[in-house]
Amino acid sequence: MYDYKTCLEKIGEIGEVTEVLASIVYVDGLPGLSPNEIVIFQDGQLGQTLDISEEKVHILVLSHKAVKPGDKVARTGGVLSINISDDILGGILDGLGNPLDGKKIINGVVRDVDVTPPPLKERRLVVTPLETGVPLVDLLIPIGRGQRELVIGDRKTGKSTFFIKSMINQAAKGTICIYASIGKKIVEIKDMLNEIKTKSAKENIVVVATSASESPGLIFITPYTAMAIAEYFRDKGKDVLIILDDLTNHAMYYREISLLSRRFPGRNSYPGDIFYLHSKLLERAGAFAKGSITAFPVAESIMGDISGYIQTNLMSITDGHIFFDTELATLGRRPAINPFLSVTRVGQQAQTNLVRGLSHDLSAFLVTLERMKDFEHFGAELSEEVIQQLALGDRILNFFDQPKEVIPINVSILVMGMLWTGAWRNQKPKDIRGKISKMVDDYNSNELFRKKIDNLILNIKNYKEFLNKLREGNYGQENYY
């Protein structure tokens, strides 16, 4: 986008690299440089202004090529911006928004990467549900369009699988899904791409990826680039789902940059503005008059500790969190989401009365189930009623265990209703799983069955009425008993 010679001629200011400290370089000259301005090195590399002092300026290098003392630098007069068009859909981009898969952006729009979040008057209430395709989340920790829901958990607890399911489910419904990989391992990025590649709705998914081997500057700007892309599609009236994987990593890279530029370290050596940085980024998401941006920022915890500095920062910025529990993961639960430690602050207002009722009853039941399981551990003699409740609990948890498939919310509601009304009482978990999978397949392929279920759920006022209807009538569910 920028050319060194043209910039030099246009602005008429030049600087010289005097010191190189990994991703930070000190430059002498450039008297008119403004904060956050992009500079261009003589070999075409870009850098972003970090700090300006009377003697020198600190530049964050945005690429991985070596910069050496004596290299010349020119101002560009602009802040970091990317070229976007609909051509990027289904593609993979680097941290600067350049396609990595050889795609070309034709008739693109130039958008600034770091912008001020929209003001209050442009925002709307979160009232539309966002279906993730994961029953445990859709029923117990509901998400609304425009919500910012933190996803927190240890490594290898199934967070990526959850994102893939959510993206595939949403992309199939026309939502633009943006996955930002912030300094992840190349293997992890490749796994994610391979998963997405095989799915039919991949043309609505955009991946913005920087690997751990890239320059800290490039990794640092990755979430901003992804958010700028989300804003582009939001302004076109689209609903966008953005996954920022992960912001603890992002904070660590920012800490490295800040310490190198000799900024004063704060708690855990993070710079004082880390909260501001993340809140400004996540404030750009939300529900708007035209389109919405739902954000799933990710925070990695260590040994299940969710009380870390960055983790608690992000919890206070977001509208709730989904906690992936290591203990549940080791028990083989997939997804290993702990519903008791997960929170959704605005998701309920996007739910229908039916789902709200179901969610309420289900939450109460799961709490009771936990208590009953404790009694079971004591080896106490259990009444027939308690045994039945425990068996129902097992069937519900078996339903929530969902290794691969995406389950539409209406099927989740139907299955929960069927379980509640006593379906599959004396059947093996494997058989129940098979029947639910068949139901999902039929719902996706059989229009008549889908319409029947959708109409039933649409016209029901509350959960009690739904259960009565299921007990009384045949809505196609009888084929799966």
Partner: protein, 141 residues
């Protein structure tokens, strides 16, 4: 000789970055070969004009080196190696017009064909013939 006179005499001697580098080398040599005579005065093992000229005390040399480190440069790129007269003229012009000691950092790049490219204090001016020709070509092509 008074200190101020020493400084001004030394500074007057230098016009370009090459001159400064030579002067710094001289000062290093004097410092390395010096030994103390009495409390402050030093004498050197070498007998050079510069050793008599550049201060009689260790502090004077240190101060002079500090002064030299603060000097700013004006980078001028020519298409050929300029002669002494041109360097003197440019140096005189700069010192008459800017109330500050500025040294010339001469670069040679035959690609610019003629004229000069000047950068000073972060400001850049391309007065090369190559630049003029490129601009002229842009108008016609």
């Amino acid at each position: 000789m008074q200190n101020d006179q020493i400084y001004s005499k030394s500074l007057d001697l230098i016009q370009t970055r090459d001159d400064l580098n030579l002067l710094n080398k001289e000062l290093e040599l004097i410092e390395e070969s010096s030994f103390e005579v009495g409390k402050k005065d030093i004498s050197t093992l070498i007998r050079r004009e510069s050793s008599f000229l550049l201060g009689s005390t260790r502090e004077d040399i240190g101060k002079l080196r500090q002064q030299l480190a603060k000097i700013e440069f004006m980078e001028i790129t020519f298409s050929y190696q300029p002669n002494i007269k041109l360097i003197n003229d440019i140096s005189l012009f700069i010192n008459n017009n800017i109330n500050q000691k500025i040294l010339i950092d001469i670069k040679v790049d035959p690609m610019i064909i003629g004229g000069a490219i000047i950068s000073y204090g972060g400001r850049f001016f391309d007065g090369s013939l190559l630049h003029k020709l490129e601009n002229a070509l842009k108008k016609y092509v």
